[in-house]
Symmetry: C2
Subunit: 495 residues, 2 copies
């Protein structure tokens, strides 16, 4: 049966010549909807392209283009000498279903079978972005970064990129960058490695993910520090494993505490050089104890060495990796603190016999990082820009720490207990028990400051109560006003 | 008991003033090794800094610096008025162990408990890099890319980067890029989405990883196409799931075949617009059948739309996503083919009710992509550079396909059966059964050509026998010589 298109059906074809969507595409979509929704039934004959073009006031080529596409996709069939018809090969159930839905409007329910891991994430609140607010811990001095130099190094590589940097980039990162990082770590952190052991990643988060999934089956226990970096907890959970929070003390991570909580842990994730967020250094005895555990039990240690570059008193302590004589340490570092986190470059140093496994594994989750920026970064390191920037920032951050410390003692000394930090980018200011750090965090955020509650770094209920105050990314001249604002918040909202 | 350092022990301290490692660091490492290896015993008194400096012919500050670090790390203790001593707090077992190892040299065996997934990857051969050899499938014309324009857009953003592009980048990608991609996909692929549904990733590999892990528990079945893209298989295995290869036919992926093989599959990974590598388009009836399955069973479909931009005959077919009325399709695209893979930008378009879950999940594996290049890419799209480049490449690739086709017919027409492709970047040339495609692939690789064996895209033993020849990235003037070389290889090594 041949049906003829009624004029009324053409009314639904409203095209908008001002839209960014080309007219032929609009017409295609409109006719397709009409077919799928049953407004144009199978075997209906469409007007000739000339007629429809004239009716709609558009060019004939536009109509032909839409008809061609509908024909190519099987919605129309073209019969020689007779014109274009709606296909009768469209499954009835699709057409039926469309009509049924329109007759029963309302809230759509749908079945979704998610993996257990995805189901736990489904309820997560949308993520907040803080855009580097004052006092954010780990926020570097963005205004001080030599962007002109960086842009120039990048442009040098992008204008005439090497062919090998454009396709099939090595999974572990551009050779020049792996070399530069290996040299840099050997000199500054006493990391013992050659360049093949360096794997460049999109950040330390990716390193944690890879390491956890490499050593733990879903449900296996992983030790982390309490208090500790929440991103590690998220990564452990995201990888399907179970984070076990091990209380730290003045000597840092304690194997004894850890064994008492979960003797069978697969992996220890620690920050031995500068505990996050409290700032202590893991003692040598504890380091050796943990390395011995790893060797004897055949386990591994993830060393998160996130900000050791900034040390104001004494010298940077060597890495745990450099002490390790049984290749049990996965060393993780990042450019987020010495450059900025939006660069998205981190790295790990892995034992030689695990390099191929980690490369193969990394390839399954995101192939590799872009080589051209890696080559520019290698220049930035090798040509001394990075070291010069770190030196400048070390002096600047020291001044900023001193300034913030003086202001806190002067204006909040009656409430906060705060000591200088030998290294890093933030202060820990303790509150008396009758103040609520999370309440202060919330109120400060509303005033445009990112003052993190110390208790928020604990996974279990805690008596600890204080504020983590980043000093590196906040200009000295802005500090008095900010501290005054903080004082008001603490006095008003704290108790 | 106080021990005195003997001169002989100092002999082991060989420092190299020409090394990139600073002298104080060399001295620190040398003394630390001597302590850990038991050559310097607990309570040994070290020479004064002045004496050691003089003995070694280095500055006193260098020695002081090394001593300070050894003291800070607990290897030395300083007794006022008496000098520096090796600590007696070093656990004996560490020192013992060191000595024992030295007495029993030989192959080191070590226990490694890897997750099952990592264990399967451990045996994987090291990865090969092909550096974009001629005939590589998916290799674009790198020489034709407007790098000057691209470098200029990048530099514009890097010289004076917005603060929000440097820290706390949004997990889903810079807003401007999500907007640009949503518009681009709506216009060119009839993808129906708003910008919030676009998640910018480091490539399609990452999209596959996220989708597989979101919908499958370890061990669950995932349908993929047979033949199909080996990277999908790797990702499915890397995510702990089980790939089920479903034979395609002239209409593409077949639900009937799939159900017969694994009725309980959680997800279907398909390339409906241009089957990889055979090139057919999934028919409308099959599309509707699969969407109905997903809706009725509460399952999902990953649509890999990897190279639909290059179409030489007819118009690009619309995406499966645009047909989907129950939000069952995860649409995956990439900039690797229209720009180059070293850019590391891909994206997925996900149903609205899964956006937050995918963002939270992505954050656990690598946080986010760098925003500054994303902003430059948004300009590249919005200011028309991308569309202009694609138009130029479409013409160029059409010429290149025709040229290669003519050469193959002329010089290998007696052996190869090859038809023009309506779209994409590669030809499929079938071999008679008495030739060995994998043998030809290996020999061609040794001659510097990347001619992929068709049988290598099958996971099961197959009768299929042929060569996948990328034409997009190979200059026309180089083709005659390459085809002659290929002819020699086929004649010599094929049978």
């Amino acid at each position: 049966m041949v049906r003829r298109l009624k004029n009324a059906q053409l009314q639904t074809l409203s095209l908008d010549s001002g839209s960014a969507v080309p007219l032929h595409q609009q017409l295609f979509l409109a006719l397709r909807s009409a077919i799928l929704e049953g407004r144009l039934l199978p075997d209906t004959r469409l007007p000739s392209s000339r007629t429809l073009a004239s009716d709609l006031g558009i060019s004939r080529n536009t109509v032909l283009s839409a008809y061609d596409q509908l024909t190519a996709e099987g919605y129309l069939v073209s019969r020689i000498g007779a014109g274009s018809f709606v296909s009768d090969q469209l499954p009835d159930d699709l057409l039926e279903r469309k009509r049924r839905e329109e007759e029963t409007p309302g809230v759509k329910t749908r079945d979704i079978y998610l993996s257990r891991m995805a189901a736990t994430l489904k309820g997560a609140p949308p993520m907040r972005q803080y855009r580097g607010l004052p006092f954010s811990p780990g926020l570097p001095a963005l205004d001080e970064f030599p962007f002109e130099d960086w842009a120039r190094l990048l442009a040098r590589h992008w204008r005439r990129p090497k062919r090998e940097f454009l396709v099939d980039n090595p999974v572990g990162g551009a050779r020049v960058l792996r070399d530069a990082i290996a040299r840099h770590l050997g000199q500054t952190r006493a990391v013992r490695c050659h360049a093949d052991q360096v794997i460049v990643l999109s950040g330390s988060q990716q390193a944690i993910h890879l390491v956890v999934r490499a050593f733990a089956e879903p449900g296996d226990s992983i030790w982390m520090e309490e208090p500790g970096f929440p991103g590690i907890r998220e990564s452990i959970i995201g990888a399907g494993a179970r984070p076990v929070s091990v209380p730290v003390d003045a000597e840092g991570f304690s194997l004894q505490n850890a064994r008492a909580l979960a003797p069978e842990a697969r992996l220890a994730c620690i920050s031995p050089s500068h505990q996050y967020p409290l700032g202590q250094t893991m003692s040598l005895a504890r380091r050796i104890e943990l390395l011995t555990w790893a060797k004897e039990e055949g386990r591994f240690i993830l060393e998160d060495d996130y900000d050791s570059e900034y040390r104001y008193a004494g010298r940077p302590l060597s890495s745990l990796q450099g002490l390790d004589d049984d290749s049990r340490v996965l060393y993780v570092g990042t450019m987020s603190k010495v450059m900025f986190s939006g660069l998205r470059v981190g790295y790990m140093v892995v034992p030689e016999d695990l390099v191929d496994m980690f490369l193969a594994f990394r390839r399954t989750i995101d192939s590799h990082s872009p080589s051209v920026p890696e080559a520019a970064l290698a220049d930035f390191i090798s040509e001394g820009y990075l070291a010069a920037h770190i030196r400048r920032m070390r002096l600047l951050y020291e001044q900023r720490q001193n300034a913030l410390l003086a202001l806190l003692k002067d204006r909040l000394g009656d409430i906060l207990t705060v000591e200088p930090q030998e290294s890093g980018m933030h202060l820990v200011a303790y509150l008396p028990p009758d103040y609520q750090d999370k309440e202060i965090e919330r109120a400060a955020l509303q005033s445009g400051m990112m003052v993190r509650a110390l208790s928020g770094f604990y996974s279990l209920p805690t008596e600890e109560n204080g504020l983590i105050l980043g000093f590196a990314g906040t200009a000295e001249k802005e500090m008095p006003q900010l501290v005054d604002k903080l004082r008001d918040i603490i006095l008003k909202r704290g108790r």
